[in-house]
């Protein structure tokens, strides 16, 4: 166990039960490097998760406060939790592409609209991999998966000029970025900005699933095959949207509103 994992993770949950070679481990390391770089300790971060590979495999790996929500609903749960947390606590969520962009999308957009102080880290493995490999809304057009045996015929939210992050931007997010996890240094730099943002931030990270996606869509479960393909395909990355500080954060706004109502009552009373 390396030093960062020892410092931040529960030993019984690391390296965890994700498949050998799964990109989630690099993704987790990048998050830990971010905390280290920001000087955040175990008690400074509350780490929430959801369902699917990204959610399930990251739950309670964090030594500090950890929670998991039901599929797609963790954004609402985290909104409630944010109300009760001290403002200085960082709240991060590691979720999958299905969780954030399909079943949980209305809740994600609601959190963005309110500018709830949280960092959503979407670990995107290009479909539903924990259920064996079915296409999702980020699976490339034409990709063969277990539920698209003739190739995915539906446009994803990453093709034909569509971009799901555009929705999140219009919904009011403060900071949005996208990388593949192979851009390790850039990912950590981006995550540092996102985690330090007072407001809603989201970092969309593509990571490889060689076991299902590689085998089904690329014809090989070799790690190198999906790694080369992913680096080649997802090149245009980086900060997608930066409106930090443009709008008040959710709890800040709500607390000010409550204080204002109480002030009005006191003046009237």
């Amino acid at each position: 166990m390396d030093a960062l994992a020892e410092r931040y993770l529960r030993p019984e949950k690391w390296p965890g039960t994700a498949c050998p070679g799964c990109g989630l481990r690099l993704l987790t390391r990048e998050i830990l490097e971010t905390f280290d770089a920001l000087g955040l300790g175990v008690n400074d971060v509350v780490w929430g998760t959801a369902i699917g590979c990204t959610g399930r495999q990251t739950y309670a790996a964090w030594k500090g406060d950890a929670f998991a929500g039901t599929h797609g609903r963790v954004y609402a749960l985290a909104t409630g939790l944010r109300l009760a947390l001290p403002p200085e606590k960082r709240l991060i969520l590691t979720v999958g592409d299905g969780d954030a962009f399909t079943i949980g999308l209305p809740h994600l957009l609601a959190a963005a609209r309110r500018n709830v102080d949280m960092t959503v880290i979407v670990g995107d493995n290009l479909g539903y991999q924990s259920t064996g490999g079915q296409f999702g809304v980020t699976t490339p057009l034409g990709a063969r998966t277990d539920s698209s045996p003739y190739g995915a015929w539906e446009p994803s939210w990453a093709e034909e000029g569509l971009d799901v992050l555009g929705l999140v931007r219009e919904a009011g997010a403060a900071f949005l970025a996208r990388h593949t996890i192979y851009d390790r240094e850039a990912v950590v730099e981006t995550l540092k900005t996102a985690v330090a943002t007072r407001g809603f931030s989201l970092v969309h990270l593509y990571y490889p699933c060689h076991v299902h996606y590689g085998a089904q869509a690329l014809g090989s479960d070799e790690l190198g095959v999906i790694a080369r393909w992913m680096r080649e395909r997802y090149r245009a990355t980086g900060v997608v949207h930066d409106a930090r500080g443009a709008r008040p954060e959710f709890t800040e706004r709500l607390r000010r509103f409550v204080a204002d109502v109480q002030g009005r009552k006191a003046r009237a009373g």
Partner: protein, 390 residues
């Protein structure tokens, strides 16, 4: 003590505030909207937070999250929203996070009729989430004042049992206007026999004891002690596990922390049961008020009739139906829900009958006639439908 004339919705609001509720998240729905409106006015006055969610599923999740952070929370809805609670109700139940849910039952199925009373969620309130392996606490008020009392009690029970507690009201209780006494001090509240259980936080790390103990403080995050809380089958430390033995312990706890404290939860009202009447009218909520009058009227006619009003619906009070008698349930649905449970609980030699209605209350005379018919050996039929053939 503040004496007013107000609605059940107002009573529930004031009760929540008195019980320490500081977060309400909801979604407008008739006939529970007024609770949300009242909370939006009252919560900021006491430093609390009112949120309107994108749907009822999110509303209860927001409440769950606030409670996970240590704030008492409540939501309120009616049938079409209640069904959307399946997901967050299950989360709170399995994670053992306290939260209070009010359902003002209206006429169903689905959208049905918005502004009329129904009682179609008797079973749904018991089985509001999937997967089995749990017991539920459900309380049913039949007046404005009782809506106040049971809401305060729901908060206390949710804290003590670490579980979501449902107040299963109906449109007449929530929309109806009656005299209401609102205690203004903790002493007045205690004088009404009501307890406010403050939120405590578990010192950790054993959050999910393999026992049926109650009064175990819930996990509260944000205190930096490394708590873990999820809807996965937990180890005793809250980590997720796929071990069947751990699941057995968890299920046993969720079921028996409630069942083994039935005596603490049981509550009912008896109408003239002292002389062991031959026929017992069984009801909950608003229909109980007609039943009470009908019992008095029937006895004036010399009929051997009593009444039983259930206040705690779940866990179901089987013990109330041990005596050999004829039982007639009076319910605001046509399909017969309470009657099934009474039939299951009734001892050998008893007979169980059903009188349904929906969107309106039965008349006193109708219940007296039904009682006379049953006591005379007849069966209940109305409009050509055999209402006993549930």
């Amino acid at each position: 003590m503040r004496r007013t004339f107000d609605t059940g919705n107002a009573a529930i609001t004031e009760a929540a505030i008195a019980a320490g509720c500081r977060v309400f998240a909801g979604y407008p729905i008739t006939p529970a909207t007024e609770i949300a409106e009242n909370m939006s006015r009252r919560l900021p006055q006491v430093g609390g937070y009112y949120l309107q969610a994108e749907d009822e599923c999110a509303a209860l999740h927001v409440c769950n999250g606030a409670s996970l952070g240590g704030l008492k929370a409540m939501t309120a809805t009616s049938g079409p929203g209640f069904i959307l609670f399946a997901d967050p109700f299950g989360w709170a139940l399995s994670s053992e996070i306290p939260v209070v849910i009010v359902n003002a039952q209206r006429v169903g199925p689905v959208s049905g009729i918005t502004g009329a009373p129904g009682q179609g969620e008797f079973y749904l309130s018991r089985y509001l989430t999937h997967g089995g392996n749990f017991e539920t606490i459900v309380l049913a008020p039949s007046s404005v004042q009782e809506a106040f009392r049971l809401t305060v009690r729901a908060f206390a029970l949710s804290e003590r049992f670490r579980t979501p507690v449902i107040v299963l009201a109906d449109q007449m209780v929530t929309d109806g206007w009656e005299a209401l006494e609102v205690p203004e001090t903790p002493e007045e509240l205690a004088g009404m026999g009501l307890e406010v259980v403050p939120r405590r936080a578990h010192p950790g790390p054993d959050f999910y004891p393999a026992s049926d103990a109650i009064d175990v403080p819930p996990v509260v995050l944000g205190r930096g002690i490394g708590g873990a809380c999820s809807d996965w089958t937990p180890t005793e430390r809250g980590l997720d596990t796929e071990q069947v033995e751990a699941q057995h312990k968890h299920a046993h706890r969720l079921i028996h922390k409630i069942r083994s404290h039935r005596a603490l939860l049981a509550e009912h009202e008896a109408f003239a049961l002292d002389d062991d009447p031959e026929l017992v009218l069984v009801s909950y909520g608003t229909p109980s008020r007609v039943v009470k009058s009908a019992v008095a009227a029937a006895r004036e006619r010399g009929l051997s009739v009593g009444g039983l009003r259930l206040v705690t619906l779940w866990p179901f009070p089987d013990e109330l139906f041990r005596r050999r008698a004829r039982y007639l349930t009076v319910e605001l649905n046509w399909d017969g829900q309470l009657v099934r449970e009474v039939e299951r609980a009734a001892g050998a030699g008893s007979s169980v009958h059903f009188l349904g209605r929906c969107g309106e209350l039965p008349a006193v005379t109708e219940l007296v006639d039904a009682a006379a018919t049953l006591l005379g050996g007849g069966s209940l039929r109305r409009r050509g439908w055999n209402l006993e053939a549930w």
